[in-house]
Symmetry: C2
């Protein structure tokens, strides 16, 4: 029997599952939000993932349901499971990627390293936290944020008045002093097997993942082991199946603190498509089908992934191929076939090799040429300084 | 604008263009022979490639027409071109991959090394050739052969009586004394750029490509240069665009003789998907779109590709994944989603690494387990001896 995987969401993550599914002879069915989605080729349904009937009908006949994003409401997920669908990751795991308060509570209970945090119900809660943390902190909505949305640096209660008056649940976190951000990706299958990729460094700009270096240039291997242990613990204790991404702060005093979780392929794992023996999209499919996981070693000494953001020039990436492909014949280009809008993730490139400086240059050069932006200030992409990079969401992919 | 490539033929070669097209954001449209073809995901039409109206309608709106196989009749191809379609490779090149008599004539004119050969119109032609070549030779139909079909070893005219009485044009070739078979793949774009992969060794069984070792284990680099020069000459002189595969005999006296040509991705290039910086399917798409070609270096010291043939057990390859993927976590599996029939190519696996013996073992082990054949003699796959490996056709892919 051909395995059939249903993916809720038709974005670039679902799109990038297509090559892996074609290679392995897996039938991929995508429930896309709109016609003309990045995953259109595999879309078998277009509809609202918040509509139970739509989702139940989609799940009919698939071996397992998985996700392009974590926005499917819990009541839909639990109804799916109650209806007999195999859902991976399951609702009881996914909730921790959906709700930052539940996530912080659970990770704290497990004794895992997280920033100081508190739930914010009233202005008083926020004021108390600010007073105890030097007068500045990161305020977040518990649900629905991504790519810097739903996150705000505040130094006074009045800066949060609109959110406090709203209905969204809020939490506040310390402004972590970090030297850089890391990401540890693992995959776990229901049988319990876990495979970890090397920990990577991720460079964020304006709340969006901009570059990833794999493996993270770490002189000592100690932090790499810590990162892997953290991800293993989370995957097991939260019963995650599929790919789990753990975003980490490496603090100035060389500790790791958990920033965010994602339970699906993640922007910080895109390098693995070309840079690892098993890419994250193949591994995710294997994991959710409870198949043995693939080897996760690096194919090159260094891999560097650079996101391509839509620029003010509205034509397609492909119109820049003649230039880009000629100058960077070793770089692998991934084009999400999305309409270009300023700042929108429309693709990525990956370069690999022995010399990190050279690899970084190749990837940036290709991404810059694809972006076709003369002046990045038009996009608000200038580095906004550490304080603004602190409380970032996981990028939407 | 999104580039649109139309592929005539819905076999595994068209299927394996899908991942490359998805990565590069190229729209792929396939004209498949039947519903449920290996390339079904990209099939936008089902119809007969020998029907002019079907092919003209399919070609409408695509930027370039290319091929999964070389069986489209010349009159269809020339009508396509006359109708304004961009066809790559063009009819004037493709004819040399369609007709072995024209191919042998043209290569001989170019002074390229080919086996002794002659056109056979009458029994006398064959008898004369047999007399001059030790009483045995390879008789071929000029058109339509593949995977050992349309090829016969003969030592007497009576063994060819049915073919001589038929309408097919015939040629006869010397039975080459070869030590092994090599394949040189290159890609050429209309602008003239050519990129060559390393020459590979191909091991054939019963007329079908069984294994490929990349690069070919050649102690001296001399033959590799000769192979590359031959392929460059053919690509330029025959005005080939897209991937060109040149199958070669390495004779016992260390010359290279050209066996067959294919003008499309080829079974002997499947290793490049996982083993080269640019796989042959991506390169073919780049070439036919006249985009700059990608780097063709090896990602591993050795890559070994082993075909998976359908076995007597009729279930799907995927049913063997739990075993195969667990034991060979580094091997890349490619499943063509074809119904399994004994001896039919239903997939391939590729392994890579530093130690050739280890890599060969990994790939064979995975392929054997996927094939699920206890006794290969059931498939007639035992090595039939050199004489039967001589006059083989290019594998259908």
């Amino acid at each position: 029997m051909t395995p059939i995987v249903g993916v809720i969401g038709g974005g670039q993550l679902a799109r990038m599952m297509i090559p892996a599914a074609v290679n392995l002879g897996i039938e991929l069915r995508v429930l896309a939000e709109t016609a003309g989605s990045p995953a259109q080729l595999a879309a078998t349904a277009v509809g609202d993932y918040r509509d139970l009937d739509t989702v139940l009908a989609f799940a009919e006949g698939v071996d397992v349901v998985t996700f392009d994003h974590e926005h499917v409401p819990q009541e839909i997920l639990t109804a799916l499971v109650a209806g007999g669908a195999v859902v991976r990751p399951g609702p009881q795991a996914l909730v921790f990627a959906q709700d930052k308060i539940l996530m912080r509570q659970r990770l704290s209970e497990l004794g895992l390293p997280v920033p100081d945090w508190a739930r914010v119900r009233h202005a008083d809660d926020l004021q108390r936290f600010l007073d105890a943390h030097g007068g500045r902190a990161v305020l977040k909505t518990a649900r629905g944020g991504y790519d810097g949305k739903g996150v705000r640096i505040v130094s006074a209660v009045r800066e949060a008045e609109d959110w406090l008056a709203g209905t969204a649940e809020l939490l506040v976190e310390e402004l972590v002093e970090f030297q850089r951000e890391l990401a540890q990706l693992v995959a776990r299958r229901p049988a319990g097997e876990i495979a970890a990729w090397p920990v990577v460094e991720s460079i964020q700009r304006a709340g969006v993942c901009a570059e990833v270096i794999a493996p993270a240039p770490i002189s000592a291997g100690k932090l790499a082991d810590v990162a892997s242990d953290i991800a293993h613990t989370i995957a097991e204790q939260l019963d995650v199946t599929g790919v789990l991404a753990v975003e980490l702060f490496e603090t100035t005093d060389e500790r790791l603190l958990i920033n965010e979780l994602a339970m699906r392929p993640h922007n910080t794992g895109h390098w693995s498509i070309d840079g690892s023996t098993t890419g994250q999209f193949e591994q995710h499919l294997r994991a959710v089908l409870d198949l043995p996981l693939g080897a996760t070693g690096c194919r090159d000494r260094w891999s560097v992934m650079v996101n391509v953001l839509g620029g003010p020039i509205g034509d397609t990436l492909a119109s820049r191929y003649p230039l880009v492909l000629e100058h960077q014949p070793t770089v692998k280009v991934h084009n999400y076939a999305k309409k270009s809008r300023a700042g929108r993730k429309v693709g990525h490139v990956t370069a690999g090799g022995d010399d990190l400086d050279q690899v970084v240059w190749q990837a940036r050069s290709a991404a810059d040429a694809l972006t076709a932006v003369e002046d990045t200030s038009e996009l608000g992409l200038e580095n906004l300084g550490r304080e603004n990079l602190n409380g970032e969401e996981l990028a939407d992919d």
